[in-house]
Amino acid sequence: MNEERQQSQPSTGNTIASTSIQLTVSEAAYAIGVDSFTILGLIQRGKVNPTRSPSGEIMVPKGELISLIEKGR
């Protein structure tokens, strides 16, 4: 996974904190082996719940991606 960004609290190294890491759409796409168009489609279909950065950019919580690739939905 390339550049990762934490928007909320600093990581404390445990699992819960690491899932609060926020990824841009392209970073999220890279992480699960799809493209940006697919990530935005998953958001539109309610399969991924994003957040927004202060500039309005869509951010994907890492925990959302983990749910997506561990369980399937």
Partner: protein
Amino acid sequence: MLKRKGQVVGSMSIVPGSTVRLTPGQLNAYTAAFEAISPEFDELRQMQRQVDKLPHTILEQPSSSPDTVATVTAEGIEWQRQAQLLTLPKSAIFLCRHPTENEFAIIQQFPAESAYAKANGQGEILLKSADAGHLVSEYTGWAQHTLRFMASNLVAHAQRVAFDQFPQHNPGRVVRAISERCLLAVGESLTVMEPVRQTIRHARGIGV
């Protein structure tokens, strides 16, 4: 030398896909901000070209004989491929027909090695209908909406770069130029411009 708000306006530049005139400082900011979204902007334009052709896709596809028809497995069914609708960087979208029933589906196929496919299967049904024409039409609208969403997000990303790195160069104006270019790329016509005063609030990008 002609100046406005302390910035030289004698040598203004217009960038592709925009009517906004930029000073040399703003042009530098534009270049940096646009570079940050450039790979995805290219993807966006390529996708838009494909979506523009979607309504004609069914008519242009040669019909396969039942012996040679390729299949896509989704939800445990081997759907027969009728037409490839979109080629994405890491997947493809097909119009497929149910092997035994009068039903069509839009299916996205992922490479087996992708983490998403390993968890969710290689084929994912996006839409289903008994009417193939209606299905393609509905998917076209859906894909167009996703592209606008993508364009909006690119503007927001560029906005972050412009405001963080070039706060002194009227980043709102820079973002407006990028917003216009992204809108144009997804087939949106330019709306009436605000001609005189530019403030940060005027350039929050485009929303979906």
